[in-house]
Amino acid sequence: MWKRKISLKEQYGTWEHFIRGDEPCHYLGQRLLEGTNFYARREWRGVRDTAYAFAHWLKLWITMAGLVLRNPVRVAMAFWKYRWLSAYLGTPMMVDRWLEGDRGTALRADTAAIECMISETVDSLWKMIRADRRLGETKWTEKTITFDYTLPKHILYGFPGYEGINMPQYCAFMMPLLRKQLGCYYIDQTISCGIPGDMCTLPMLETGVAVDNEYPDVGNIWLTTNTPCDANMMDNNAMWRAISNEGQKAVFPFTIPMMYDDPTTRELGVHEIYEGIAFMEEHLGQKFNWETFVQHLENTNTFNKGSHERWDIYANTDFGTLNPVVQGMFRIYFYQHGGNKYFLKANRKLLKIFEKCVRNEIRPFPHARHRALAWSCGSTYNANVILWLYNCWGVLTVINMDSLTGHNLVDTEDRDLMMGDLADWYARTPMRTHTVGGNRHLMQMWETAEKFNCDIIIMYDDIGCKGMAGAQGLLEEEIRKHRDRFHVIWLPHSLMDCRIVPSSEGRKAVNQYMQNILHEEPIDPTLVDFDDEMGW
């Protein structure tokens, strides 16, 4: 039976604090069920913010119910068939974790971004389910195209009437975010086939879904890619049999040059875009529509301009109002989709909130003692560690490596320039932009930390990442050269498999640094050490 460790009086002190939800310490850790990250009680954020969060929770369930109501039988069949789909029942819990500690404008901005991601996800899940041959062929089956996880769907906008799904994103990548044990399950399926267990866990997870033959069967073509890394390139081989339906589907590898900012490689990037367009024209029997395509690019530019503005605010002020985990996830989500209706709407809303914060000098994260840059590939099962850093230790991550991807503006006036800029978009993928094409990209860490006025760098240490493993010595030497300027805290994780490096190990590494090197006291002592192994 759950019991409060900190009494109401101790936590809130006064009735005013309770009404406003602005108590000095939120004591978030005490809300957790023992051994898990499930809340015994959701957060009380004061009357207004709790009402807001409650309304958002209602909207979330209505949105999820909306998926079911579109075709209850078909959706039920999908739930019965696909283990990964059951993970989406945990969406409210993932949202709880992503909103931990939020108040005021932060809560509003984060819920706007989350709403966008959830609406987009529900939309995509529906598009997958309605087109899935395994549930019965429909008029959408041939109108839906499978894209690889990190391959943006930009060229699809030149084929109005067709839908694209980044299938591995919904069937694989989301698993540890929603329910970490499912990530482990699919990874085990991959290992049971003989693929070594020391590989990066993301492609292993994607492969595991294919091994279990749980990718929906949609469309007649599959666009793959070699991004973000070698292992993800190889998982396309492993998934070929499942996703291409034993070779029945036409497969187009949309390959991206490795040394993407080397001018000599630009021609390959552009060539692949034209080849991709030609491939789709051939297989869809439809000419590419440059008008709708350019409109989409302009929409994506609009979003990116908004991102630039928000980053300026993060870099130069304390008024940035998306919390660290939502900020990162929002950009990664956006990367796949570009400026579609959900992201444009969220962009407008977020800009308003950001402008309000700047105008009224609102500091959405008042407990921030440090400004941090998160570098390298972050974990998924422990995605909200970046928010925990703020709530527990006051380390506010103002920007992360994977946000700084696909943000260049595309020239839509000159076609040659446009295609060159678009090739650049495709090349600057999350988990890739800074890890391939030369060590200098990795070392952009320092100038980025300077630009965003950070004093701490959170260095994610994915133990399965061969690209980063190869650069370990380089990083250590460069860190030593910069030690007078930045604190660097290594945060170990194993990307998708929570068993190899449990979340508590990551937190422990931070705790040790904060206590022994920086000699600081936690802002929320209930968050310092807790066991969430049995949680999701």
Binding site: N226, D230, W240, T264, H271
Partner: protein, 400 residues
């Protein structure tokens, strides 16, 4: 069988990268152009005044410094090369022709510059962007990469002559080497071959790591010797196997397989001859660079190329090779932590055992190795069991 005359000499050459012939060539003013990856065209680096050296790190058992730079979770081939570089084992090289094909290898190559490992002011590091698909356009792109990243800088820095004439001469020399190696290699197809897999492996490695002009005479002599060599009265081996996988640059590995009774009849791995020793065809209207780029892109069987055709073709290639060399089974190997071959090994193992997308089934044995072959005991057990299973299968089905 009678020992090959030059085998011990060849084995001696393989003991270190800076061997007698490499030293001799450097003293004579030739430039050593080093590389790690099978995509790099050898004839390009073998033009007059230069020689290609594929890097190995024989006897590297404790890459401690490299492990600091690359952790113990990186491919041990790359770490061993880096370790040997720290030890000064490659101080003789003038350039390292690298590529961003494999992340770990690329990180290792970048350390040559970052840590300033080669005490040569003019040392040049090139990094090619290798396409991931095959075809005319991609061959053209590969060619342009070679021109921009290798030819132009080396011409400027070292005054190397990469003219059409020189390249054609180099290709012709390379083709002669390939004809010799192919003829020797084809001897493994016989019922009772006059050459063992180990001997072939040694010879093949010598062609990769020594200046070719200084070993050609010995290769020609070895070929003559083999043409006249009498095999043992009865085949000494119990089964015929093919080895496929990532880096296998230690002949001791092949020796281990053969000590367990398996004759290695085909070598489909990085550092192997299949592919790698096919003569380069100069088609009509094609210049030397076109021929080189096309050949090295098309013939390569690295797991990197993407798409249905490449995916299916690689397993078909393994199957066809096994049939051609009458291998009864395939040992599928990957270097530990190799992402490419970790996946490729498992997928190929499944397809070939099932007979999926190929005309029949072939038994496979899947293993992981370390560069220094630390787990020899375990490998021996696996090989013995595999050979025995192949023997039993043959006894039970003599027609197969």
């Amino acid at each position: 069988m009678k020992d090959l005359k030059h085998l011990i000499y060849f084995e001696e050459l393989l003991r270190q990268a800076h061997n007698e012939l490499v030293a001799q060539a450097c003293e004579q003013g030739d430039m050593a152009l080093a590389y790690n990856c099978s995509y790099i065209p050898e004839p390009l680096l073998d033009v007059e005044g230069c020689f290609s050296v594929r890097l190995r790190a024989p006897g590297c058992t404790s890459p401690d410094l490299a492990t600091y730079y690359m952790t113990n979770r990186s491919c041990s081939y790359s770490k061993s090369i880096l370790e040997r570089a720290f030890e000064g084992g490659y101080n003789f090289i003038s350039a390292l022709i690298g590529q961003e094909c494999c992340t770990t290898m690329n990180r290792m190559e970048q350390y040559f510059e970052y840590c300033d490992l080669i005490p040569n002011e003019k040392f040049h590091f090139a990094c090619i962007d290798m396409p991931m698909k095959k075809g005319e356009w991609y061959a053209g792109y590969f060619r342009r990469q070679l021109e921009q990243k290798v030819i132009d800088p080396l011409e400027e820095r070292f005054g190397i002559d990469f003219s059409e004439e020189r390249l054609r001469e180099s290709i012709e020399r390379h083709n002669e080497l390939c004809r010799i190696m192919t003829e020797i290699g084809d001897m493994r197809m016989a019922d009772n071959p006059v050459i063992t897999g180990y001997e072939y492996h040694v010879i093949q490695l010598v062609t990769l790591t020594c200046p070719k002009r200084l070993i050609m005479d010995k290769l020609r002599e070895t070929l003559e010797e083999l043409r006249k060599r009498e095999p043992d009265p009865e085949p000494w081996f119990r089964a015929r196997v093919m080895v496929a996988g990532s880096e296998v640059d230690d002949p001791a590995f092949t020796k281990l397989v053969e000590m367990c009774g398996g004759l290695v009849v085909a070598d489909r791995y990085c550092f192997g001859s299949l592919p790698g020793r096919e003569p380069i065809e100069l088609r009509s209207g094609q210049d030397a660079m076109d021929a080189l780029a096309f050949h090295y892109m098309e013939k390569n069987e690295c797991p990197r190329p993407m798409g249905t055709e490449a995916t299916v073709h690689r397993r078909q290639y393994l199957y066809d090779l096994a049939r051609k060399y009458r291998a009864e089974g395939i040992i599928l190997e990957n270097m530990k932590f190799c992402e490419y071959w970790g996946y490729e090994r498992a997928i190929a193992g499944k397809w070939l055992s099932e007979g999926y997308q190929v005309e029949g089934r072939i038994p496979t044995c899947q293993i992981e190795t370390d560069y220094a072959n630390a787990s020899v005991g375990q490998l021996r057990t696996r090989f013995q069991a595999f050979v025995e299973s192949l023997e039993i299968k043959r006894l039970q089905n003599p027609e197969c």
